[in-house]
Symmetry: C2
Subunit: 504 residues, 2 copies
Amino acid sequence: MAKPKKTPRPKAETPKGFRDYFGPEVTGRKAMLDAIARVYHLYGFEALETSAVETVEALGKFLPDVDRPNEGVFAWQEGEDEGKGDWLALRYDLTAPLARVAAQYRNDLPSPYRRYAMGPVWRNEKPGPGRFRQFYQCDADTVGAASVAADAEICAMLADTLEAVGIPRGDYIVRVNNRKVLNGVLEVAGLLDPNDPEAHEAERGIVLRAIDKLDRLGPDGVRALLGAGRKDESGDFTKGAGLSDAAADVVMGFMDARRDTGAATCARLRDLVGGSAVGAEGVAELQEIEALLTALGYGPDRIVIDPSVVRGLGYYTGPVFEAELTFEITDEDGRPRQFGSVAGGGRYDDLVKRFTGQAVPATGVSIGVDRLLAALRAKGRMDDRAAGPVVVTVMDRDRMAAYQAMVSELRAAGIRAEVYLGNPKNFGNQLKYADKRNSPVAIIEGSDEAARGVVQVKDLILGAQIAENASLEEWKSRPSQVEVARGALVDEVRAILAQHGLGD
Amino acid sequence: MAKPKKTPRPKAETPKGFRDYFGPEVTGRKAMLDAIARVYHLYGFEALETSAVETVEALGKFLPDVDRPNEGVFAWQEGEDEGKGDWLALRYDLTAPLARVAAQYRNDLPSPYRRYAMGPVWRNEKPGPGRFRQFYQCDADTVGAASVAADAEICAMLADTLEAVGIPRGDYIVRVNNRKVLNGVLEVAGLLDPNDPEAHEAERGIVLRAIDKLDRLGPDGVRALLGAGRKDESGDFTKGAGLSDAAADVVMGFMDARRDTGAATCARLRDLVGGSAVGAEGVAELQEIEALLTALGYGPDRIVIDPSVVRGLGYYTGPVFEAELTFEITDEDGRPRQFGSVAGGGRYDDLVKRFTGQAVPATGVSIGVDRLLAALRAKGRMDDRAAGPVVVTVMDRDRMAAYQAMVSELRAAGIRAEVYLGNPKNFGNQLKYADKRNSPVAIIEGSDEAARGVVQVKDLILGAQIAENASLEEWKSRPSQVEVARGALVDEVRAILAQHGLGD
């Protein structure tokens, strides 16, 4: 009789909103991270890896959805007794840790400090379809460069990077805007007073988030949020910024200010910001970025000035940019839609100042690696079925050392190989295993073969093709399996792999 | 006048026990992880990446230091109200998540399931010098293979891996033991009753941990822990297992059972386990592993049977193994000592059973990547000063587009390059920056050079050599700086890099 259980069995599940990545999902992402890092490195950026855990104090509160109750981070308190230790949290991006590093090592780092970083970040958000609470980012930032040449460079590098990971020119666009222009517009709209910059902060936040949702809500939805507010499909009401119609017109005009050329867009923006000094400064910066990029050959087929880009994060202070994939994919409901944003960034001159009290100019970009992978997958540009190992089957349990010697030889020749290590009793299971592993070749050596000094080499790829198409006669002739001398094993396998384009 | 501060400035610090990794520390580790993954992949293992966060329930409690109050993990509770949500935690190793995956996807995964995984793990332990609360592991495991051929293979792969990352043969040893032999010894010592396997569990834990500390405590210290207990240098008393002298003799004899050959060691172990069935089974398994490895050419210069290895983790059920680096390094106090363990693993047939109720045989190894890197660094085998980018200096702020065009050309030729993006006013700062970045070459183009269609190319490596050794006359002739036509810029830089062995 079974003993009474002491504890119930644990559930074999990831926590909600987390997932596992298998085989080619892992190696495909790694290949993309490697490709991105190569471009960042070529541009002179140095690697930095901070820990996943930071103090809540150092991270600060800059997540877009500040209206959520749990503030979006996974946090806990140190120590055994509540209320005593530091509050720690998982990083929610790679920028906040960089600001901490730039402050902590400010006397030792080169200035400008140009670094790239990659790795998972965590958001304590409500998970949804395709929306996970751990995802990868891959960032590059320049800390200590006040010139917008640094911003222009980041935009150019972003375009280069997208092409390096397999997004051809024409399938992406980098859009550039400037928060200073937006601030100029807010001044004109009466929401920003240069002499009292903290007044109307809440309303400005509402405007910012409304503009950022233009894609999703459309102009009417944004317009409602600029005024009294908006009721969504579920009936929930979001309070608006309370702008007058005239002020809302200015903001709406800003989002709609994109013209055919960067020069024309900048001219329109200059009109909109009127007498605002910060607005004029922002327009001048955009013109400088435009001029630098044009000189380097990054035309509007790759990078455009587009005032509808604002970026949700609260910490941006100057140029902001966003990379969007422009091709259509089919969404979950079978409808075509543009893939949308895969990277974004901008200038954040005050993040380091939080720590040191001294302003440190900084700008950078963050690529949403998992979204970019999803895009390539949607376009069929990811090879998610990598070749498995050659499987040496086990016909005779006592000859395990001989089978291990075979895989040893294959590996020494650089060929991925393994002995079947499950229960060898049922030979069919061994071939099913090889099939599940997507193995190109199986090796068979029973006592008869061993006595004769030969092995059977089974071409599983050819075998699968024959099984799909062949007549009974062809099937019986089994040309996919050949007998070779034991000494010719490695050469035969190498030849089969080469036939299928799987050689070195 | 400054405004009163609203909040005090956050401290720019990592949490205690965490650290940052810069430049070559990151890329050096990445190169090592890549090298390890190549070997694992060659052996037929597939990549798996689980999330950093698991439910506490799924992780279970298997950390060695079970006597600590906080149980060694970073954990927090989901949801806004205390007492309602799941408890989540950062993974403390890569084995517990694998057991969860093997259970969760048991109907979909190939069997045996062979996977490798790499990434950080977190331990909520007291930090110390060189002891961090986040560190990297790189694991390979075979789930669903009952045969000790799987264990033997892991040992062979571990030896191959160490050589692949730069530990030459002779500088490491893989030591193999078997928990079943230990259990046989515990039976003989009266601490394990096959008919009541849960009796004496606490005492067995004490014995296990005592043996695991042999290196640190020496035979006398271990002997004390087997008996009444031990008082350490600080005066703290650790309770012992309470074994009789005769029983303690058997355990001490076990640790000391290693002989010149694996066969002799196995013979001695067979004596020690006497009539214990599980003990005899364990010895037979060790003999089989030894025979397989010998047949494959892994002799005692690489892998040995060594009964003093037990591994601290509680979940091992059969063979256990450990890789040790045998060369001496100089410790913090300037004393030579052996570097010690860098990898370990073993068979854990009950971890998946926790979830499913059905025993699933499994075995694997975990490499402590950060320790291995520290070892290579201690031996001077890590190149921690990688070449920086070519730096194009800024003599004339208005010619930024021309400088950007230079780096553009250099990058297109595959040469790492950047424009100096700090404040260009002080030219000395630009050269100091290039020095701090370890740049091989600086480019200088003032208005004079621009007018003449030339650039100055400064060989900073040669320059540094001259600065160290040259006479004043040599110094003045400045042969480290040459003027070339603007069109010859890329060729000249490439030639200088090649001279210093920095070409492609």
